[in-house]
Amino acid sequence: MADRSRSGQVALTGWGRTAPTPATVTTAASADEVRALLGEAGPRGLLARGLARSYGDAAQNAGGHVLDTTALDGVLDVDLGAAVVEVEAGVSLDRLMTLLVPLGLFVPVTAGTRYVTVGGAIAADIHGKDHHRTGSFSRHVEWLDLLTADGEVRRIGPDRDPELFWATAGGMGLTGVVLRAAVRMRRIETAQLLVDTDRTPDLDALLELLTATDHLYDYSVAWIDCVARGARLGRSVLTRGRFAHRDELPARHRADPLRYSGSVRLTAPDLFPSGLLNPVTVAAFNEVWYRKAPARRRAQLQSIPTFFHPLDGVGSWNRVYGRRGFVQYQFVVPLGQEETLRCVVERIATSGTASFLAVLKRFGAGDPGYLSFPQEGWTLALDIPVVAGLAELLDGLDELVVAAGGRIYLAKDARVRPDLLPRMYPRLDRFRAVRARVDPGGVFTSDLARRLCL
């Protein structure tokens, strides 16, 4: 992800490994060190970067300074009574789980990877399989300390300078540097989930099932085969579940119900050719994945990593896409726009573009962050290797999504049409107004911000 060049700058990319740009990367371990760096920012500005799991250029700053926050890793306070933890922004969700699951606390929201920092989770206002129940990550932040361009540290929250707070939640790091935050955790009795699996033969059956019964589950997500066409268009494997209560565990687990181990089992080497994931191999993989899933299974016990973070078991799995990298296209369209969803799946399936892992979820109500992604409706995320003609295909999908009143997710984006952004994010003006107030000189900036004129 990072190659050192001779100028002392480091070429950075996001998780998709596309469009590298050089920046001067500095690690800071305290608020004072961050403030010192702010003074040296220069004309190309400064940006905080955590574990760089955003797919595109959100954590890059071409020609400027990038602050590596992963050394800001203190867990400052754990209040078991209130289930609130106070942490520095570079603490990862992985670390929080290792530390707190044995104490009966789970993160309020986790993405498909636990290798994200708390600062990054706030900046992207991440969502998880429980969005329909709990909303996005920032809804569970009681307050956060933000270092703004003037060198001040401001404690903000939904009740203190809410405008700055909701511009920072989902604000992609453009309002300042999050130094620490207080996060409300979820109480759990066990570290095991009770999971129901359903296989659906097509997209209609899936949407019907999600509409009818999603409210019965805390967590829900579907994997869609985006290669299958015709009558099998959108065939899916739906997994939904909730944390098990202690008395629901089999006897052998009951003695140590909160036992948790999240570790990387193997790491992908950096030698995969770019064409490895092509329509043929991806179709074969999807076929196997669909067939190996049970048609219907109830109350299967699964561990936290198996249920939430299956890909985290393989380190650097993004290398499988080879040197050319890949993009993730994630969008949401409101309920009632199922036709658009179908049209997108159809276009992907017939494009011959190999989408390896497509994930569908039904979002609950939208979140207050001005640039927060979720809105009530259907969200689909597609991983697609970079191939010729992809720009045109995705530009066409952007238009469908916007026409349906939907939007794409900035934390995943590496290529959206900039002119469509104000229509996707109607509160972009409010975000810009807050940014103009706290950072009139535009010190905090990124490749994403420049590309999309945020």
């Binding site: 060049s5 001779r6 100028s7 700058q9 070429a11 998709g16 596309t18 469009a19 590298p20 740009t21 050089p22 920046a23 004309p43 190309r44 595109g56 250029d57 071409a62 020609g63 400027g64 990298g325 993009v327 970079v386 992809l390 720009a391 045109e392 995705l394 530009d395 590496a414 290529r415 049409r417 900039p418 002119d419 490749d447 420049r450 590309r451």
Partner: protein
């Protein structure tokens, strides 16, 4: 920023009224709306091109540039970058000159060297400095197959193109690791206002074909492009033709 799939946000056209520059802008506009900075002399043609590109969906800014004026490049680059980063800069200005006059008129030779060599390398130096600073960007330099092996019929033009070609090829190497890069484009005979009234050479092409090659080269991150592609093999062969024979070829 050029995005992950090679789409461009801001395009700077130096020599913005040249047929190849205009065709390149149209080619990009076919993909997406984008910001275009048009650097050229203040002429009715510039106004017409700006209007045309606006009608095509571009957000067009106009900047004065005169390749005859040694003070012009500095001012032009400052203004071109005032509105934000430039993702792709096309150096597309140049003249063929009057071959008969160029054989004997030293002033005309100096003038052509200024427009075709001095100004392009000054502009290239200034563009490279800016792009190094911004950590990204592509400079597209319009060279010519005429620079590959100058011939008696237009050796002054050929020599200026040989010089600017060498400059930009070397500049490309000096920018490795900076995030910025250079594409050297070597077209054959292009049907354009520059060549109007001249008999077409073999393998002649349109400005649109050059534009397509430019857009493709930027997207794919290539460094040298011949248009048409077969020119590479042709010139490679011509380079090794013995002089007495080369002189007699009808080129």
């Amino acid at each position: 920023m050029i995005d992950a799939l090679g789409s461009v946000g801001t395009l700077l056209l130096v020599g913005g009224t040249s047929d190849i520059a205009v065709a390149t802008a149209h080619r990009y506009l076919r993909e997406r709306p984008l910001r275009i900075v048009l650097a050229a002399r203040d002429t009715p043609r510039r106004d017409a091109v700006a209007e045309e590109l606006r009608a095509g969906g571009g957000t067009v800014e106009v900047v004065d540039f005169d390749a005859d004026d040694p003070a012009s490049p500095q001012r032009m680059v400052e203004r071109a970058f005032a509105g934000g980063d430039v993702d792709v800069a096309v150096v597309a200005f140049g003249q063929l000159g009057d071959e008969q006059r160029l054989r004997t008129d030293a002033t005309a030779v100096a003038g052509l060297a200024q427009v075709n060599y001095v100004a392009p390398v000054v502009v290239g130096t200034l563009l490279a400095e800016r792009m190094r600073g911004q950590g990204h960007g592509v400079i597209v330099a319009l060279s010519s197959v005429a620079g590959e092996r100058p011939r008696a019929s237009n050796f002054v033009y050929g020599s200026t193109k040989a010089g600017m070609d060498a400059f930009y090829s070397g500049l490309a190497d000096s920018l490795v690791g900076s995030g910025a890069s250079v594409v050297v484009v070597r077209p054959g005979f292009v049907h354009s206002k520059m060549t109007a009234g001249r008999p077409a050479a073999p393998l002649s092409i349109t400005p649109e074909a050059v534009a397509a090659a430019i857009v493709d080269a930027v997207r794919r991150g290539r460094h040298t492009v011949w248009v048409p592609g077969v020119m590479r093999a042709v010139m490679s062969a011509l380079r090794h033709v013995p002089r007495p024979l080369f002189r007699r070829l009808p080129l």
